[in-house]
């Protein structure tokens, strides 16, 4: 089956592309990105601030048991409803740095749409840090799974 979400990260580049086909009208995908209540639901984070306009800014924050686990912020550079968003994105206290994101919302049919995100990092190394993040997390998961299996025998 064709994958609905694709990542294209060419070797030696400091950018990557994320593409996703949605069984949704383009207006609803755009809404999911611009209405705080929706953003917070699908991103799984609290939206502290979200100014949907050129030169507006946004802040996301996730807490667990009263402790801030994740904080991200950025500036919306350009916004064309149902078509385009250009913004910066930065996860605080992470070695990934500020990234520049070009989001392209495309209508395919009345009920189908396509989202293309081009992300540009400060360097190839910064991009690698980003890619490593869920990878390392996956390895940790695998590691604790292994421990779970092994521990009772020790």
């Amino acid at each position: 089956m064709e994958q609905k979400t694709k990542i294209n990260a060419l070797e030696g580049k400091q950018e990557l592309f994320i593409t996703r086909d949605f069984d949704l009208p383009v207006e609803l995908v755009y809404k999911a990105y611009t209405e705080a209540a929706f953003v917070s639901q699908w991103m799984g984070t609290k939206v502290i601030k979200l100014e949907n306009r050129n030169h507006g800014s946004y802040v996301f924050e996730t807490s667990h048991e009263g402790k801030v686990m994740f904080k991200a912020n950025g500036t919306i550079h350009k916004l064309i409803p149902n078509q385009e968003m250009v913004r910066t994105f930065e996860m605080e206290n992470m070695p990934i740095g500020v990234q520049l994101e070009f989001l392209n919302f495309e209508k395919v049919t009345e009920d189908k749409s396509k989202l293309t995100i081009q992300i540009i990092y400060k360097s190839e190394k910064h991009r690698a840090e980003q890619l490593k993040l869920p990878f390392a997390y996956g390895l940790n998961m695998a590691h604790s799974k292994l421990q779970e299996i092994l521990e009772p025998k020790i």
Binding site: T5, E11, I18, P25, L28, F135, Y137
Partner: protein, 109 residues
């Protein structure tokens, strides 16, 4: 104990990436690999050593010569490297899709 090297640090180096590309075509001896570079044999040996430690290359003795070839296990680790990132976005977008599907009706009104 030898320190386990970082695979991604290993492939971040352009010389080491070139070595991988060379060896991918056919198994090569260290001197044949070194002929492709202006660096000293010693420098290239060091790069080969790092790639071997990361299990991206493996040695094979053929007669009196040692040949280096790609280690498919190590290489698969790199190929699978992006998958968790893709999966993370796929999960997120699936949530977005499910969430917004419940709004399609309102949208059409």
């Amino acid at each position: 104990m030898k320190l386990r090297r970082d695979v991604f640090q290993a492939i971040a180096d352009p010389t080491r990436r070139t070595i991988i590309t060379l060896v991918a075509a056919s198994a090569m001896t260290p001197s044949a690999i070194a002929e492709n570079f202006d660096y000293s044999r010693q420098t290239i040996s060091k790069h080969i050593q790092i790639l071997t430690e990361c299990e991206l290359l493996k040695q094979e003795q053929k007669g009196r010569e040692i040949y280096y070839e790609l280690n498919p296990n190590g290489m698969r680790q790199i190929a699978d490297f992006i998958e968790p990132f893709r999966k993370m976005w796929d999960d997120r977008f699936n949530t977005l899709e499910e969430l917004m599907k419940s709004k399609v009706h309102e949208h059409k009104k």
